[in-house]
């Protein structure tokens, strides 16, 4: 702070003055700080916006999920091309060993009557994989009218509840499973039953036509296992505990076919068979859908497709829009007038009509995805062209452009070297904000079935939502994860885009 004394200019003592040295050149002091460029400034202001930064990292995370999971995850969805076995593992709720608190533990609350309760109990007794995790005391439901029936509120383990299935194996496969059983001490094949017409593989006890067990007085099941017939002596592997009579050992397969082409019809536990076939216990982080496809990998491949489409559309829009807008804005006059009218006509066509027409005309010739892409690009670049045109109108009359022209710069050089960089901010923001729009439109179109992307190698978020809709009340998780994904993606992209827009807007500098 200056004192009154120092401001008293006429009285500055002579000794305080010094002559400027005559030799050498005078320089300003060199800046000690680094200069801040345009993009550095943008980055600085962007990173000050915490929500946008978080949104950016969420987008990165979702993108990594979409890229990495289909590459590395080997689940039944990626095997689905050649494998039809996954149909047996349908509608399994989410289960994660490591993060059960987040995703779920594969259980479900249901109310069953006495008969169903006994059928479930039987699965647990035979295989030791008990589907009933916990059960209430039996109670009678007065409202149902049937006073005799007992009801149970139980929590079932859906992964154990899938129970058994019949498989017809070749002799080699039969041997392989037995060898695997011995090596891992996990029983896959369970004894055959005497009733050859029984199609429900879960039944190993005396039962009526509906599969309801006929219990003994003490409440036990009455096994109807077959005993070994002379021709089946090949079974040498794990046996169930009840199989302890050396005189009459149980049969583990029913033999069909001729002696040249023998087939072994066996009852296998689905849970254990999965381990044999795929090498790990069935546990799907996001569950499986009604076709038994793993939602985790399916969603990832759907997301990958969405991202790829959106980025592709965005970059095509950017290219076309930039050139169109630059020519319109730079030349003006009748060129602008004519090109604007063309844009008017294109802009007047509703997007849904464009998509439908492209699907009707092109999907048989060039495929569904390219025709969807054409539809997006046909009208998508209009917004970009509009923005670029506005920027050109703003800057083309400025003195520095005139100066460059006087120096002999060509039209192309003026357009892209001198004027275009001014619109970089709006263009980057615009092309980022196109991405969530494209993903949203794509999911809506595939949801409505106007565009059908479902195939053995491909799926889309909209199709997953549409398929899960009839399961909304019974298995809400099928629809939950795709919805969650698309909501998260939209929120993050909008936050990120807004942050970017503010960062690129020089008028807001210092105002925050």
């Amino acid at each position: 702070m200056m004192t009154k004394n120092e401001r008293n200019y006429p009285k500055i003592p002579k000794g305080k003055f010094a002559f400027v040295p005559m030799e050498g050149r005078q320089h300003d002091k060199k800046f000690e700080t680094k200069p801040i460029g345009y993009f550095q400034d943008v980055l600085m202001r962007f990173s000050r916006n915490k929500a946008s930064v978080v949104a950016f990292f969420i987008i990165v995370f979702l993108a990594l999920y979409a890229i990495l999971v289909p590459m590395f995850a080997e689940t039944n969805y990626s095997l689905a091309l050649t494998d039809t076995m996954y149909i047996n593992y349908s509608k399994l709720p989410p289960r994660s060993k490591a993060m059960g608190w987040l995703f779920g533990d594969g259980t479900k609350k249901v109310t069953v009557n006495e008969n169903d309760y006994n059928i479930l109990r039987a699965i647990g007794i035979e295989t030791g994989l008990n589907p009933i995790v916990s059960s209430s005391e039996p109670y009678q439901d007065a409202t149902s009218g049937r006073k005799q029936n007992n009801y149970y509120d139980i929590i079932t383990d859906e992964y154990y509840r899938i129970g058994m299935m019949y498989l017809t194996l070749t002799p080699d496969e039969y041997e392989n499973i037995q060898a695997w059983q011995d090596a891992n001490n996990i029983q896959v094949i369970y004894p055959a039953i005497t009733d050859a017409k029984q199609s429900d593989a879960n039944i190993w006890y005396k039962a009526n036509k509906k599969g309801v067990p006929t219990l003994t007085k003490s409440g036990d099941y009455q096994p109807i296992y077959r005993t070994t017939t002379p021709e089946d002596t090949s079974y040498h592997s794990l046996r169930i505990a009840a199989d302890n009579d050396p005189e009459k050992p149980l049969a583990y397969a029913r033999i069909t076919g001729t002696s040249q082409a023998k087939g072994y019809v066996v009852r296998v536990s689905k849970y254990n068979y999965f381990q044999y076939r795929y090498g790990f216990e069935p546990s799907f982080v996001m569950g499986t859908n009604s076709k038994g496809q793993d939602i985790f990998t399916r969603l990832a491949s759907a997301a990958r497709f969405s991202f790829m489409l959106a980025i592709f559309v965005s970059s095509l829009n950017l290219t076309i829009g930039t050139f169109y807008g630059a020519i319109e804005g730079y030349y003006g006059g009748w060129v602008d007038m004519l090109m604007e009218r063309i844009a008017d006509v294109l802009g007047g066509i509703p997007f849904i009509v464009v998509t439908s027409l492209f699907q009707l005309h092109l999907s048989n010739k060039v495929g569904v995805v390219p025709s969807l892409l054409f539809a997006f690009v046909l009208t998508g670049w209009l917004g970009m062209a509009y923005r670029v045109r506005m920027q050109f109108y703003r800057f083309k009359g400025q003195e520095y452009v005139l100066a460059a022209r006087t120096l002999g710069a060509s039209d192309a050089r003026l357009m892209f070297k001198h004027i275009f960089p001014n619109s970089l901010g709006t263009i980057i923001t615009g092309s980022i904000l196109v991405i969530p729009g494209v993903i949203f439109s794509e999911s809506s179109l595939t949801y409505l079935g106007i565009v059908n992307l479902e195939s053995s190698t491909m799926t889309s978020v909209g199709t997953m939502l549409a398929n899960g809709r009839d399961q909304l009340s019974t298995n809400p998780y099928i629809i939950l994860f795709p919805s969650l994904f698309i909501s998260l993606l939209q929120i993050s992209f909008n936050l990120f885009g807004n942050g970017l827009r503010d960062a690129f807007n020089p008028q807001l500098r210092g105002a925050e």
């Binding site: 849904i352 009509v353 009707l360 939209q490 909008n494």
Partner: protein, 319 residues
């Protein structure tokens, strides 16, 4: 002003004619179902096709199309979905349900959006404002079908307050029908309310910080007076056209919601007309024309309403 209106409408009609002509030609290039396959309706279908010139060269068909369909409003009969029925008549039957849902949605979301927006603007940079702004960000971004699933799961299935689908039948104004429409109205409404709130807040804060408001305060007006008489009225200039455009927008944009809640509206009609093989071209053409007209019309109405609300804005003037 009148000159400008006429010019705009004329231009719109030209654009509409170009678009619908391209649609017509593209549709005509697609194979349609041979009349022999219609069985008992064959005679009728053949007759109608003859009337619309299906067997004539494309250029003649086009002239007939312009004369009969665009001017005479005869869009032919349905060939796949409602075999033999007049397309225009079926379309008109579907219209009320769509309009009803949208009117209810607007009735519920416009006041809410305005109230939240005004409140947030007045409480700018307080925790109430931050809360509303964050909520708006979330609600604007989440797609409407996700709301539909949430509403269906929690309100229709868990709590059983509402039926899953819209009540069948044509008594649109009964109480039961209204209750069965509530889930659809809610699903459409969340996004609309959020969008309106964001827009109102932005516009109102801009007006509230402007200098003429400071002048009004220095003149001695109370805060309430300046807010209601000066700020609100001025901020309505851009807000009102926005409401109008949203209303027009959701007439054509509620396709997914109508689909989810089983509302017998125009949206499902369009989706179903494409779902048959071959598609029901007459419906497709009519609905394409409808959506095009809605889109073009809303643009004009927005432009013109600026001049109506704020007489200082002279659309199309040289200045």
């Amino acid at each position: 002003m009148l000159k400008y209106v006429i010019k705009r409408i004329g231009l719109m009609l030209v654009v509409f004619l170009i678009i619908i002509s391209v649609c017509f030609v593209l549709v005509k290039l697609l194979p349609s179902k041979p009349a022999e396959q219609f069985g008992k309706d064959m005679a009728l279908i053949e007759m109608r096709r003859e009337a619309l010139g299906y067997n004539k060269p494309l250029i003649e068909q086009y002239i007939i199309f312009v004369r009969r369909s665009l001017i005479g409003m005869d869009w032919g009969v349905s060939e796949m979905m409602y075999v033999g029925q007049d397309v225009m008549k079926v379309f008109m039957e579907k219209m009320p349900a769509t309009i009803l849902v949208n009117v209810y949605t607007m009735l519920f979301s416009v006041p809410l959006g305005l109230i939240f927006g005004i409140y947030a603007a007045l409480k700018k940079n307080t925790w109430q404002d931050h809360f509303i702004s964050t909520a708006v960000m979330v609600f604007v971004s989440v797609p409407s079908y996700v709301y539909a699933f949430l509403v269906q799961y929690f309100l229709c299935f868990k709590l059983q307050w509402f039926p899953f689908q819209m009540r069948a039948g044509y008594d649109y104004f009964s109480w039961e029908t209204f209750v069965s429409l509530v889930p659809a109205i809610l699903s459409l409404g969340f996004g609309t309310v959020a969008g309106l709130t964001r827009y109102t807040r932005a516009e109102l804060t801009e007006v509230l910080t402007s200098e003429f408001l400071l002048l009004a305060r220095t003149k001695g007006l109370t805060k309430a007076q300046t807010t209601v008489r000066h700020a609100l009225r001025n901020s309505m200039v851009p807000i009102f056209p926005m409401i109008l455009s949203q209303f027009i927008g959701i007439i054509s944009g509620s396709m997914i919601i109508e689909n989810i809640f089983g509302i017998p509206g125009v949206g499902p009609l369009y989706v179903r007309s494409l779902g048959t093989t071959p598609p029901d071209y007459n419906f497709f053409l009519l609905l394409s024309a409808f959506y095009t007209l809605i889109g073009l019309g809303s643009g004009i109405i927005i432009d013109l309403s600026y001049g109506l609300i704020d007489p200082r804005i002279r659309m199309g003037s040289k200045k």
